[in-house]
Amino acid sequence: MALGLTHFLVVSALLFCLGLYGVLTRRNAVAILMGIELMLNAANINLVAFNKYVAPAALNGQVFTLVVITLAACEVGVGLALVMAAYRNLETVQVDRINMLKW
């Protein structure tokens, strides 16, 4: 068995679903964000793997990965700012306690 594309895809699928699990089950906004990061990383693995095995002629996959990393950074920046602002007012970062409005 030689190392091939599907190996990476399986890891990516598992990582994605772990991230999803985190997103679905965590109460802490930051923890949910970490789950989202895992999901994005899974997508990145896909992109890089496909770039090598499917379309090695151009580097679109890797460029996409860079963009995703950038977006992840921006999301973390903005998202954590919102978390901090909410924490200042509510003294909690548990999303089910941030619940003035009907959920």
Partner: protein, 119 residues
């Protein structure tokens, strides 16, 4: 073979961690132990710790972290540009000029709005 390079990197990482852990293990074997409970208390200037080890720290830590993340991302775009802009001519320079001017504006904003002040 490119992967060979990274085999060395991996080896360095693993060995580094192992050696450091080894030193700790040696100490763990050699060092004296006492069951003197005060020693294992948190050291806070000799005063008995009260409450949790936490205070509502300044949001400024976050602001610095934020600006850092944004500019760290910016820097990653500089690296590939830096190695090829020579070949790509003046277009590449102007592209980067726009990119950097936009981010300098961001820096100016952060500066002017006091996100870079500690006090």
């Amino acid at each position: 073979m490119l992967l060979l390079d990274w085999l060395y990197v991996a080896a360095f990482a693993v060995i580094g961690l192992l050696l450091a852990a080894l030193s700790l293990a040696i100490v763990w074997v050699l060092s004296p132990r006492s069951a003197y409970p005060q020693k294992r208390m948190t050291y806070e200037s000799g005063v008995v710790p009260i409450g949790q080890a936490w205070a509502q720290f300044n949001i400024r830590y976050y602001l610095f972290g934020l600006v850092f993340v944004i500019f760290a991302v910016e820097v990653i775009y500089l690296y590939p540009w830096a190695i090829v802009f020579r070949q790509l001519g003046k277009f590449a320079f102007f592209e980067m000029l726009i990119f950097l001017v936009v981010l300098l504006l961001g820096l100016a904003y952060a500066w002017r709005k006091g996100a870079l002040e500690w006090t």
